[in-house]
Homo-oligomer: 215 residues x 2
């Protein structure tokens, strides 16, 4: 790996584990066993590293979020899709942990973050449309609108909520429960013929969340 | 008002409007037209002011959250109750805006914040139990558990989500929409006889959210 990429890789790990406000460029240099001068040669400060990591995240999550908008998923793939979205967010979770602070320091990020929330909204709406057209779910437009808003909010803040309550749980657990919580929002609207499939998927998630409690 | 209370009052207003990280004790002194030395006489730094404001918030919201646990609300009062909870949170919204950063700086607050989330959970469960016992709603225990979790998450992050998307909207609008989003989570579980009442309340909220769009 090139030094530049190693710096980005270690910075992301430190920001995620120690918190971005608690990590200095000296910490990053120490972690990599390079001199602060060498780090400065590649990045002129922490701000530039954060901007570069945000670019990476924006690129990755945009690709993922566009997928169901460009081409509808199969009914069964929708649940797995939600997993993929959470997984990508989890990789860059430091961005969400300190969102207000980051946006106050980098006002330009605000616009780009809002664009991502809009894209999440469009992706979840596309997922919902697929389920509706397959007669998996049934709602009025008004119900669908409020439901999609609630799902986007959960998608945006789930990682923060889990961190507030449990600090650092294993990622698979955090992400599976996130998907499970999203599924339970959809559940009451599912038609009878899809309930069996849903119950199966839900039990898999429940087994992962609480192995002892699962049937 | 005593100087000490004026300092707290102005600090809260500045933290909420300008963001706590962007507000210094000098800003607070300037706002009140007192000397930094006079402010220091009352509070030995911004940390002490934040701790005092958190105490106020903790005291106020604890009282509110305990109400339905100690004594069940009437069915109709539950919706108004959710409004009161949001209103109290809105008064101290700076605490939620920068939660991760605040918790990193004051680890002791983490435990107290988690206690408040637990209390929110107990309050929402109590609300849910009242609705269930009045046969307003009907769910399995498993459904109720996931629903209450989703409601507590929305209650905790709604103000942040609204701020991320819209910056500063009028408080009545933010809070009403928060209640509306919570109501729409409950809606699919409502029995027929309560749907009319629910639709009426929902229309009031929708009129406030989007006067032009409402019927």
């Amino acid at each position: 790996m090139k030094t530049r990429d190693r710096i980005l890789h270690s910075s992301l790990a430190l920001f995620n584990h120690e918190g971005e406000p608690n990590t200095t460029t000296v910490d990053i240099a120490n972690e990599l066993d390079i001199s602060p001068g060498n780090l400065y040669y590649h990045f002129k400060g922490k701000d530039v590293i954060i901007a570069e990591l945000f670019d990476q995240y924006e690129h990755g999550i945009t690709e993922i979020l566009k997928a169901p908008i460009d081409r509808p998923l199969s009914v069964e793939d929708n649940w797995f899709y939600l997993y993929v979205v959470f997984e990508e967010m989890y990789k860059y979770r430091f961005l969400y942990r300190n969102l207000s602070d980051l946006l106050a320091r980098y006002p330009e990020l605000g616009r780009r973050f809002r664009r991502l929330v809009d894209l999440k909204h469009a992706a979840i709406t596309a997922v919902w449309r697929t389920l509706s057209e397959a007669a998996v779910v049934s709602t009025s437009d008004e119900e669908a609108e409020a439901l999609v808003d609630n799902m986007v909010l959960l998608l945006t803040y789930w990682l923060n909520y889990d961190h507030l309550l449990h600090q650092d749980r294993p990622p698979a657990l955090i992400i599976h429960q996130g998907v499970y919580q999203l599924m339970s929002m959809i559940a009451p609207y599912l038609g009878e013929q899809q309930r069996d499939f849903y119950e199966q998927v839900r039990n898999i998630y429940r087994t992962l969340i609480a192995p002892a409690a699962a049937k």
